[in-house]
Symmetry: C2
Subunit: 271 residues, 2 copies
């Protein structure tokens, strides 16, 4: 999928919502546990109930790996279900990978080819040759961590490097990498005011923004500082939507929560 197609979807659906499919068997409705594949059954129900309200789904791979082979199979079924039934929806493998060149190529192959995700999240610590192998894939997107939404973001990301914060250094440096047009960035919503500075460095890039809702970020602030002419934002919500109810009405409750966010987004897009 191209970024132009993503922007078209956003305008068509009046939504820039991304739903995080972070499935924990301890948190899903009990009645699903008797299904052959409870994780996929949960995801399918959430997708069926919310696909018209969002433009992206983001399974965090940790939640699948934690269940070993079975979890990996659930991830495969989930991405296949999305690609078959909702090819217009942008898919993100939230895996935060990164390794030396030939190894990063293997990860890129895993997520872009074997699992056919549209995008994958990566960590910047190992620098240019750890990220460029991902960027080489046409019409695939590499979403690099810049400023994350957790407390630990202040340990290193905001430290001053050559006169500016490390995360700004990461953003600027990455613009010189080969095929950097395929980069997007993770920027936590809990630091919405930072978005104004970030937009001066990467005015055109899409930003994936976690931390609205459960982690305390504010949608209006994020849009005020982070939106560009092509919207340029994907706002992620995971727990706030998928665990809105733990009863049999969980999909309906998720749809309701997604609708609330979509309506706020529609208001912002039309203002």
């Amino acid at each position: 999928m191209t970024t132009q197609q993503l922007t078209q979807q956003i305008k068509k659906k009046n939504s820039f919502l991304c739903i995080g499919l972070d499935v924990d068997l301890n948190k899903i409705p009990k009645h699903l546990l008797s299904e052959e594949d409870p994780i996929f059954a949960f995801n399918k129900a959430i997708i069926d109930a919310t696909h018209h309200l969002c433009v992206a789904y983001k399974p965090n791979t940790a939640f699948y790996e934690a269940y070993g082979l079975k979890g990996w199979k659930s991830l495969e079924k989930t991405i296949n279900y999305l690609n078959e039934n909702h090819p217009d929806i942008f898919t993100i493998a939230d895996s935060k990978r990164g390794d030396i060149g030939n190894t990063s190529s293997m990860y890129a192959k895993a997520f872009f080819e074997d699992l056919a995700f549209d995008s994958v999240t990566v960590a910047p610590y190992m620098g240019k040759d750890s990220v460029e192998p991902f960027l080489a894939f046409e019409n695939k997107h590499t979403i690099m961590l810049a400023l994350t939404s957790n407390e630990g973001a202040f340990d290193f990301q905001t430290k001053m490097v050559e006169g500016k914060e490390l995360y700004k250094h990461v953003l600027e440096t990455s613009k010189s990498w080969k095929n950097s047009i395929n980069l997007m960035y993770v920027v936590g919503a809990t630091k919405a005011e930072y978005l104004a500075d970030i937009r001066t460095i990467v005015p055109d890039s899409f930003l994936l923004v976690p931390g609205v809702g459960a982690q305390g970020g504010n949608l209006q602030d994020v849009c005020k500082y982070g939106m560009n002419d092509n919207v340029g934002l994907l706002i992620n919500s995971s727990r706030g939507i998928i665990y809105a109810s733990q009863s049999e009405d969980f999909a309906e409750a998720a749809s309701q929560k997604a609708k609330e966010l979509q309506e706020q987004m529609e208001t912002i897009l039309n203002s």
Copy 2:
């Protein structure tokens, strides 16, 4: 496994060699491709031929994920084979993971419990709360990237932060984290002279050193600057050992290459 047990193994085998099981189906001997699980068949033959010469095995998870479900199954079979037949050997899941707290807990569960590795590599960019969930596991070890062996290491890791290089800042900061006794660090061999400085910051920690051989690092230099009273080093070699031959004699050739390194290590340990 405790670090004391690891040091005992090193002294018993006169070796601090770690063998990287980075299996690429394009590089293994052709005759293995007709096996039901060529990756596991390759690993089993390598392990059978080298286990007396090394103290650790390190599968890089990228090479397994690249083959999807089948690859994950090969990884599971490999770690189970190691734990059943060679419980004294230290196992490293080289996965370079890291995420917000509850998500890192899922990764820790995946590698420490589901797959029962002794250790896992993690990336530091997201800071304290992304690493501490790994550190909470008793007698499990978290090997954090400090200074990697690739070109991209110079993009961010060696930049000056508050008067010292970022990787030194990472090392120092991590010492204050809860259960930091369970930390080890990745330090690339291509920068052996940096090890003297690193030892002033983390004198007692084990260092996992990739980059000897294929990437140009020198064993003598690494030991000169990096060894401590408990040895404190695991030197990794992947391609130089496992792809020493691509013919039917591959396991024998791997054993020969491992033996050359083990003998160099024995000389150093006894000097």
